[in-house]
Symmetry: C2
């Protein structure tokens, strides 16, 4: 009998497996495909590798009197991306020592038994970490989805991307910087609609200046091989070599017997409480399969919270403070409460904006696009969005201020090194 | 009568001037040369501009299949550096509205009067913020010092740098990446001797691999035009086009009448208490002139503490938590207590090291050189050194943990976004 059986070896699953084993539990980890899940194999890691390639390839040193005349052999870029993914997968494998890893589809037989292939395993706890699947749209079944485009060996000339959410925008940013002519078609009135409205507008204008074409409030349809965009201005033929569809992901509810077992779910995903417990007391669900916040670190930390619960630790992770990043050029990051939420709840707040342009290090780096936006209530920061260079690192300092409820009057006394981008935060609150 | 007269318009002086004015005080600011001091005009900002140029120029994309064939017109680099400095100086000037700025040498007549040129001004408080001067060494009076080299219009072929402290190492890093053959001669047994010993050794080996030549435990002398290095292995002729001397800086005690006024000082600088008060109650000294910690942000925050004191605010800035950064390739940063200090005080501690190589984002970026080193006592981080990409930003998160005494058990529950370099910190403490 295992202490814990985990179905799904993505970041939620494998991190929980390691943590549980380190806490002395016996662990069964079931993965039907490759360890590391979407994040490692066809998500975060491969895109960040291509992002770095795009960043190097598009480097512009003209302000400094430097002429860059870069050439790219994209097949080598993809080889390198595959190597990084392979290496990281090996390193996950080697960190699973002591954990029973089984390859196959995991099914739940009853609340204390899981089945893989023909074997049945007894377990005290079960954790469903089956992740999510891309949403396919009719007429575009044969086009590229995020995992396909990461394996193209050649760059397309013209890429049409359906969907201007985080994944669509990251892909648009990367391929545009790699010299591809990119068009993004988005149904809503702005890109990255889950982010701050000002920030999404600012990013939109940066990306437009960077030669990405946008159709907002628009629908894409295919008529034979023609890609047609419809909006209230009419309908337009879009030239393309490849179409990439990024309209979102959906919880992977392919586990058998959910109904028979009485595990409640809705069209978003499996329903869980604050400790990620399903309607069956010893069965938990973490990560994308609950459909709340489809981020690798949300999965990882929800796994930690499950372990806290199983081990009867009182610690409670604050899932109101989940940083979220878009690796566009420049990066966008946010954490804490949003203006939409605050308006909805009728909560008063102040807004502070501070420009990268006002920061000495940003000036020296010629990385002056962007700003930090703080939402403030009383003497506390309650929300933050940053668009600008290295925002994916900077956001973590603000996350701590929010999570630890550190007063602004105290933050002012924390010494920030000069000249660094971190001063953006101390500069922003200076005159409050 | 002014509330406060500040002698010296470097970062310590001008920031204090602005803060004091914003708090309703009448302010006289005296600067004998250019606003912004060494930091803006011949220190932090120009070097960080050249650092970025060096970073772009030396960009290597080969792992990603990218061939960089960069060319540099260095005179344009210097023009751009001058433009950045000029722009930032203008922006300081424009933020001094309402503050009386006087150009000239400031002297203290008595505890309530300062003199500039022929004018005498009455004031309640005086702040000495006269900064520091480079230390010149005999025989090398006509060679380059840090301010000279920043104004060279052409790159030398061979640069010999005397002194392997922070400034020497930043210069060596920049000019080496710009294609200059660099030799560093350092008296002590390691470079950046004020930093962690392991980190300084690691940096040494990275820089050596990057083709910088080093002579440690060595003394440089000049015999006619020959540069000779002596150490216990013998003496060596060093080929050079230019010699840069970076053997340190010394408090600028050029203020008249220090003795007559009874302001105590020693060979380090002006002696102050925890609130930066000199031996005369209404006269303060901040920044390099006290000779303790010659960092722009130390000057800035010491000015804040002076203002707290003048305004009788109880806030006390923690000057035990001053982050310090070296912009080498890769960057080095530290904050909090050092192993030398802990050994000296006989304090027990644990060391945790975590490699950049183990971080997914670092892998994706091909920035895997370096590590984070944490000094831990009980459940607290008490010191940290980081060598690696973006360490100058990352160090600030750790600075908050130290300053706010946030327990490691709590830090584990603060969600870090994946994949980001910030995870280096959460990864490092994972198994404690």
């Amino acid at each position: 009998m295992y202490d814990i059986a985990i179905i799904g070896g993505g970041p939620g699953g494998y991190e929980l497996a390691i943590n549980a084993y380190n806490q002395g539990l016996s662990v069964l980890l079931i993965e039907q495909d490759k360890l590391g899940g979407v994040c490692l194999n066809s998500g975060c890691i491969p895109t960040k590798t291509l992002y770095q390639a795009a960043s190097i390839y598009s480097m512009n040193g003209s302000a400094y009197g430097i002429t860059c005349n870069n050439k790219i052999d994209y097949s080598k870029t993809i080889e390198y991306k595959d190597k990084i993914v392979f290496d990281l997968r090996k390193s996950i494998e080697s960190s699973l020592k002591g954990i029973d890893l089984v390859s196959g589809v995991g099914d739940i037989i009853d609340k204390n038994h899981v089945q893989v292939n023909d074997n049945i395993y007894e377990t005290k706890y079960i954790v469903i970490a089956t992740g999510s699947k891309v949403i396919k749209i009719p007429g575009f079944e044969d086009d590229l989805y995020s995992y396909d485009i990461l394996n193209l060996k050649e760059l397309p000339k013209k890429l049409a991307i359906i969907g201007g959410g985080v994944i669509g925008i990251e892909m648009a940013s990367i391929f545009s910087k790699l010299g591809v002519e990119v068009t993004v078609i988005e149904m809503s009135d702005r890109i990255i609609p889950n982010f701050d409205r000002d920030i999404s507008k600012r990013l939109h204008s940066y990306l437009k200046n960077d030669n990405i074409n946008f159709y907002l409030n628009s629908v894409a349809i295919k008529v034979k091989d023609k890609l047609i965009v419809k909006n209230d201005k009419g309908q337009f033929d879009i030239e393309y070599d490849k179409i990439l569809v990024c309209v979102g992901r959906r919880a992977n509810l392919s586990i058998n017997n959910l109904d028979k077992l009485g595990i409640q779910y809705n069209n978003q995903g499996i329903i869980v409480d604050d400790n990620f417990r399903t309607s069956i007391r010893n069965i938990f669900a973490i990560g994308d399969v609950i459909g709340k916040n489809m981020l690798a670190h949300y999965a990882i930390y929800s796994g930690k919270q499950v372990l806290n619960t199983i081990l009867a630790k009182e610690e409670q992770i604050d899932f109101g403070v989940v940083p979220s990043c878009v690796f566009s050029f420049p990066e966008v990051s946010m954490v804490g409460l949003s203006e939409v939420f605050l308006a909805d709840k009728n909560i008063d707040y102040k807004v502070i904006k501070h420009l990268y342009r006002a920061n000495g290090k940003a000036q020296a780096m010629n990385e002056t696009d962007g700003y930090i936006k703080l939402l403030i209530k009383d003497d506390l920061i309650i929300g933050c969005s940053i668009i600008g260079y290295s925002s994916s690192i900077l956001i973590h300092e603000v996350a701590i201020f929010i999570e630890q409820k550190i007063k602004i009057s105290e933050i002012k006394n924390i010494i920030h090194a000069h000249p660094t981008l971190s001063e953006l935060i101390s500069e922003a609150i200076k005159d409050i």
